[in-house]
Assembly symmetry: C2
Homo-oligomer: 307 residues x 2
Amino acid sequence: MSNEVTLAADIGGTHIRAAMVDSLGNISHEQRIEAHLSGNNCSEADLIHTLSTLFQGMLEQHPEIQAIGMGFPGFFIGNTGILAASPNLPQLHDVPLASQLSQHLSLPVMVQNDALCAAMGEYRFGAGKGQSNLLHITLGTGVGGGLILNNMPYTGEGGMAMEFGHLRTSYSDNSRLCGCGGYGCVEAYASATALISQYFEHTGTSSTPRDIYALACQGDIFPKQLFEQAGKHLGRAIAEAVKLLDVRTITISGGLIGAWPILEPAIKASLDTNLIPPLKGKVNVLASSLQDHAGLLGAAALTSLEV
Amino acid sequence: MSNEVTLAADIGGTHIRAAMVDSLGNISHEQRIEAHLSGNNCSEADLIHTLSTLFQGMLEQHPEIQAIGMGFPGFFIGNTGILAASPNLPQLHDVPLASQLSQHLSLPVMVQNDALCAAMGEYRFGAGKGQSNLLHITLGTGVGGGLILNNMPYTGEGGMAMEFGHLRTSYSDNSRLCGCGGYGCVEAYASATALISQYFEHTGTSSTPRDIYALACQGDIFPKQLFEQAGKHLGRAIAEAVKLLDVRTITISGGLIGAWPILEPAIKASLDTNLIPPLKGKVNVLASSLQDHAGLLGAAALTSLEV
């Protein structure tokens, strides 16, 4: 394989991250660009125009770019590059995002769900390198997930696979309310939002996960319990995924990964409790080795998929 | 496609069911043969000898048979036909079951996990016909599952995918003990065993699921609650699978399916409670249309897979 250069982009609601990535996973020219791609006012034409203008500028500066790979917060069916729907852009449906951009830019373009791109990054360049099957979990404002099965991104029938954050890990009457409107989702225990709101409920003080973790490390009991509880619920949800899919490698990234020294033992103990005997001890749960570059690297890796 | 005739077999611990199946799913010459294929005394050679002798006899009577498809209670990795392990035959590991039988019988032989064969049957000939993705659940002594993804049986990395019966649907302190040694598995609420033991605990009387269901239909409150509870837990487990996999068609077979008039509304209400909003109302839960023939039909269907 020649060392092809890909333009990789990770599209958020208010910002776009972009970089050039070579086939060995080396990142260069990383940039963060303000761009408002959310809300009811963003039409399909706006979206295509904003993205193609941005990419065109980068292509002019870097004519060595041979393909574009992009992570986008939305539902994609298989590897078609068709955006079925996006929570951030409620009026858009079935937008042939990859093919329209490809036509505008005269280059191959691949697009996939952003969490699934992070999974691709871990699979290709990170803690899951060398595995054929991988479950990747992102711990940020929410809890997201991406799944690689038989070396391919898995999207499910309607592109909504891996709503990992909404697996239920509590059915009791006092299960916490989740942002999705349901109760007892793992996201209601193991996201930054969940940590912040539980800390506030208990202490009356607003804090950040980083500061709550610092308190835990200083020996404060409640902050430590919050992270242990997050790990317990993550272990439960991972166990469900393993019992259904028999995936053996789980990678975890995101803002909360800084709390790994408390999260890891809690996750592993809970996973062990909830697996069936023949699967106990057979699953590797690993912190991401890519910091916050998993998404960009995975977007780049999309362009070398044989679809 | 010519109307090929396949010898289909479903291997149990004490009996083998076998039949001839044509490519339209017509079953003939069905038989049930006593055969003890379980325990520590059954070696690899015994297993191959027993099965090839049995099949040889049928092939001599029916020279029109062109292939053999078999469901077996064990773990198979992909469609290799290699038995990784079997709970019934603890001393056997990595037995190339399909290739050894094929060599003995000079015919193509395909083998797959028995619950996955039932899923294949529903996918090819039953309530899931026409779907590319299907989750099939068997409600018998235990609760089993099989998964078809992108028109292929899905086995997972070590052949242990779809331990559906051991998804946890209760985490409370009084969660019921499951046969697997864990607590709160859906099998501890929605299997024949679970119904019988809960009925006995409550009434001090031994009964059968059929009789318990008859009482429920006569208006007895506790028997009805048992089936409603089974449906509630099944709905929870199905919701978890849907949120992970985005499969939209669920088929259910097995001995308890006679209680469908109570199970169905309980399953659907619970599924609706536990799905995220964009998936609510998008999932079909269907009773099997194949009675107890799903496994044999699916075993036959294995032989036409392009692997």
